[in-house]
Structures are given as C-alpha cells and as structure tokens.
Symmetry: C2
DNA sequence: ATTGAATAGTCCCGATCGGGTCGTTTTATT
DNA sequence: AATAAAACGACCCGATCGGGACTATTCAAT
C-alpha cells in the first residue's frame, strides 16, 4: 500500500507498476488508448493532465485507488 | 476506506467530504485556490479535469489517497 | 566498447479546459 | 408555503493539453 500525495507520486507509481508488468511506454499507451506522449508526461509527473486519461491508465494497470479522511483509520 | 475506481467516484468523495466539513463549493474553491466552476465540475464527475487541481482539492480536504496493485493485499 | 531498445524532448495544431458571472433550478430552513 | 442559500448550466475567451513523428539521449545487454 502506497500513499499518493500528489501527481508526482502517481507518476512514479504508474511507472513502477508498468515496469513490474514488463511493458514499455508504447505498449501501455496502446493498451490504454492514450498517446505515448501523454503516458510519458504522466509518469514524469506532469502537473496538469486530464484525470480521465490518468484513470484509464490506472485501471489498465490493475491498480486500485483508495481514499480516506485524514483522521479515519484504515 | 473507500475505493476510487474512476473520476466519478472521486467527485462523489470530494463532495461528501466537503459537506462533512460544512463547506460550500465557493468556500472550498477559495480555500483551495481553484475556480468555483472547476470544483463544481469535479464533484459532478467531469471526465477530464486537470489532475494537479484535483490533487489540490484532495489535499485541502485532508483526504489521503492510497494505491495498491490488484493482487496486493491491503 | 558496441549495438539496439527504451525513454525524453521538441515541433505544430486542433480540441478543450478553466476563469468569472449571470440567470435558473434545486435544496434547506422556518 | 415562503424565503434564502446553495448548486447548476451557459456564456466567451485565453491558455494549455494531447496527438503523432522525428531526433537526441539514456539504458541494458552482449
């Protein structure tokens, strides 16, 4: 379980997961239906990308996002 | 703990948390430094908004996002 | 060290976002 | 039911995204 505090952390996570699955950026991009450049910038922590596309990638990788309030216990 | 499978779920969560904290959209928008319209559309599950702004809102609300691989146990 | 793959950076351009605001609709309170 | 507040939808417009392609750079493996 990994905490995602911002878009950079998200990019790192995506890259890590992509590599863990043995995919290249081009392959994942094709799989996900987004452009290679988008994926690259997402992994590099681009400040502003479209969240819909980001979620497509997240789901394509089989990642699960969970949220809780600050105080809320896991 | 709540699973965020897409941008709609994220919007719902944000709205719920905003209300739980007794804030109006205008107040939260001002607090966060985003436009009211952006916040509104984010809560309504706009497909494509800038992820950087979304994270600003998430942090402003004190929400914590966590991610794990599909198989990974919590 | 060499070689090929993977990633990063840049180009142009159409498509869309996000800003504020005004008018309308929904929700809440009394 | 009446009133006020909050949320929604639409408007215009400048700013930026995201697409593919092409080159340069980094990386891994032999």
């Amino acid at each position: 379980m990994r905490t995602i505090y911002d878009h950079k952390a998200l990019g790192q996570l995506i890259r890590q997961e992509r590599k863990a699955q043995g995919l290249t950026q081009a392959e994942l991009a094709a799989l996900t239906g987004v452009g290679i450049r988008f994926l690259r910038e997402l992994e590099l922590g681009k400040e502003n990308c479209r969240i819909g596309l980001a979620f497509q990638v997240i789901r394509a990788l089989g990642l699960v996002l969970e949220a809780r309030g600050r105080g809320e216990s896991a």
